[in-house]
Symmetry: C2
Subunit: 368 residues, 2 copies
């Protein structure tokens, strides 16, 4: 793996050089992990100057659960455990004779940025902006295989839940059980807080589980994901509790299903992100559901459970091959409930078989 | 409750005025919740000018699990759900004729601060610094009663675990079970990721649960807390697995127990934070344990699971009455394991009976 991280750092180095900075200080945890193989709490990566250094407030060995940093990096553990590695990194950059240091102004606070400037007064600070996030958009095979496993784990956890008795159990308990099952199947942990929404809560984006219990006739919508080696899958499904769904439930489900399929089918290298969103949104609008929809119908996944690209009306840019995204339209009818259907897919060209579906749990309307 | 939040905002308003700013924009979630009663995701509080406004990217009703904002505030939901409430807040401050706006430079990123300045070019930005955090140090009765309940919930969850079979179960599963039990007993959720450390991992601060299974003869150290209405308790205990502890385990436990008691007994209004830390640390050092200790032996708790005051060698300041803190010395012997004992207490003067212990689970060395 070491050469993978070295190659990523080299690509970033070229970007910085093009931007006029010989060195960069990466502080955003997901970005540190992408370039260093691990991101011990508070660690920052100093790139360039005479060498690449991972600066940590404490030794990484303090966290057995955590990933190991790339052996190709010099590891620098701060003498005082409560120091700020970013400040130490700026000091080292100055000591290495660096003139311009690119920092992540979208992550560093104003107070930290000031502290950096005060330890290295002669250093010129530039903005690395989303430089690392842009490198992270297109995933390599190593990353995609982690995402496949993360998706498989979520499918397994969800599949097991469907075999258990649901009526009478609370949203909170179902969410906790799903998270336990994710870990059972080898996840580092949940990719994000598991959402379980019943009855009037169903179909709501990012619903926080409450003590409401599953009842006969409810819609039950679930959204979960596994984190595997830092990579985060996402799957959402909606079910009906009881023997037979009501007519309004069948109709609503069919609309959301059709919208989600339209979104999936719009995924292709070169497709505009907003067009994918429109494809799904149009189906909902045509059925009369254009009010109170979520701002987007999908987003990228990777080391973060929500990253670029965004599939939304105002989104700029086009999709590339090997970009994993969610497609997750939903409709929530206040007081009644609703439907969300959410898959994680990898954008592929037609010749490669089109979009690769990572979350394979059935999308038929199951009555549980 | 509404008058409680209004009174807190009034205290902050006075601080700002003293600092030469008629208005403040509070963005740090725990600070927003303290002043507004709730902190919907991304919400910011604009204080002063002609009125106090809670700005949100989405309607708070979207989160049934969440607390309700103080009815005494004007609620402003952004038209575009992907806008930044902080930027909107700066715009409103300018529109209200505010000249100087205090912002939380320790929370706002450089990029966001720039965006604020660009929408309100004539506004002068000052630093609110830790103004709200300082108000949060001393808790009122409402806050203390939430902390008491949060501590009681953690005691219950831990007590139930001790009655179950432990040998053969993994750290991850025990941690997940504890978190489920926290929710069973009415917690909003865990106050922080539950730490379960067995054998060679035991006694390690903030150990992340692994797949290691509990074995006969292990030390088992557990650290958990409940979040109740936003307030976070913390308790840590260490047990021995099997019939009789080894001599080294008994000796080590006695030392850490004595250190933790010394720390607890040093808690008093007016006591210097560093002296409380020294009281505990001295006992460990006298027994030959001065290497590889955690940077602190305790910290404040409240809306965050680690907040001021810090009980550490370099800590400044003194304790006040009604300040809840943890006392949590520990020793970890690499390769062998160790002991941590952690309580949440409220600083009280002698006349009020001295420190109030919130986490009442026994601290005798139990062999499970």
């Amino acid at each position: 793996m070491s050469e993978v991280y070295a190659a990523r750092r080299e690509r970033l180095r070229e970007r910085c050089a093009a931007g006029g900075s010989a060195a960069a200080l990466v502080s955003r945890p997901a970005n540190v992990r992408y370039l260093a193989g691990a991101a011990p709490r508070g660690a920052v990566l100093l790139l360039g100057g005479s060498e690449d250094v991972l600066l940590c407030a404490r030794p990484p060995e303090d966290e057995p659960g955590a990933a190991r940093p790339d052996a190709g990096l010099r590891l620098h553990v701060l003498p005082a455990p409560d120091g700020d590695p970013a400040v130490a990194g700026a000091g080292q950059a100055a000591a290495q004779g660096v003139e311009a240091l690119a920092v992540e102004e979208h992550h560093l606070t104003v107070a930290r940025h000031r502290a950096l400037a005060s330890v290295a007064p002669r250093l010129r600070f530039t903005d690395l902006a989303q430089g690392v996030e842009q490198l992270r958009l297109v995933k390599d095979e190593e990353e995609l295989s982690c995402l496949r496993i993360a998706a498989e784990i979520a499918d397994q956890a969800l599949g097991e839940l469907l075999e258990s008795i649901l009526v009478g159990r609370t949203e909170r308990h179902l969410a906790l059980e799903l998270e336990r099952r994710l870990v059972d199947h080898g996840a580092d942990g949940p990719a994000f807080p598991t959402s379980v929404a019943t009855g009037p809560h169903s179909g709501r984006l990012g619903h926080r589980p409450t003590d409401r219990r599953v009842e006969e006739g409810d819609f039950l919508s679930v959204c979960l994901g596994a984190c595997y080696r830092g990579y985060r899958s996402e799957i959402g499904r909606t079910f009906v509790i009881g023997t037979t769904p009501a007519d309004w439930q069948i109709e609503l489900y069919d609309v959301v299903f059709a919208a989600q399929r339209a979104g999936r089918e719009a995924l292709a290298p070169g497709a505009a992100c907003r067009d994918v969103d429109r494809a799904a949104r149009q189906v909902l609008a045509a059925a009369g559901y254009s009010e109170g929809l979520a701002p987007g119908t999908g987003h990228g996944v990777g080391l973060e459970n929500t990253e670029d690209p965004q599939l939304a009306p105002a989104a700029m840019g086009k999709l590339d091959a090997c970009v994993p995204v969610t497609v997750e339209p939903g409709v929530h009818l206040p007081g009644r409930g609703g439907v969300r259907i959410d898959d994680t897919l990898v954008v592929r060209c037609e010749a490669d078989g089109g979009p690769e579906l990572l979350t394979i749990t059935t999308k038929e309307l199951l009555a549980l």
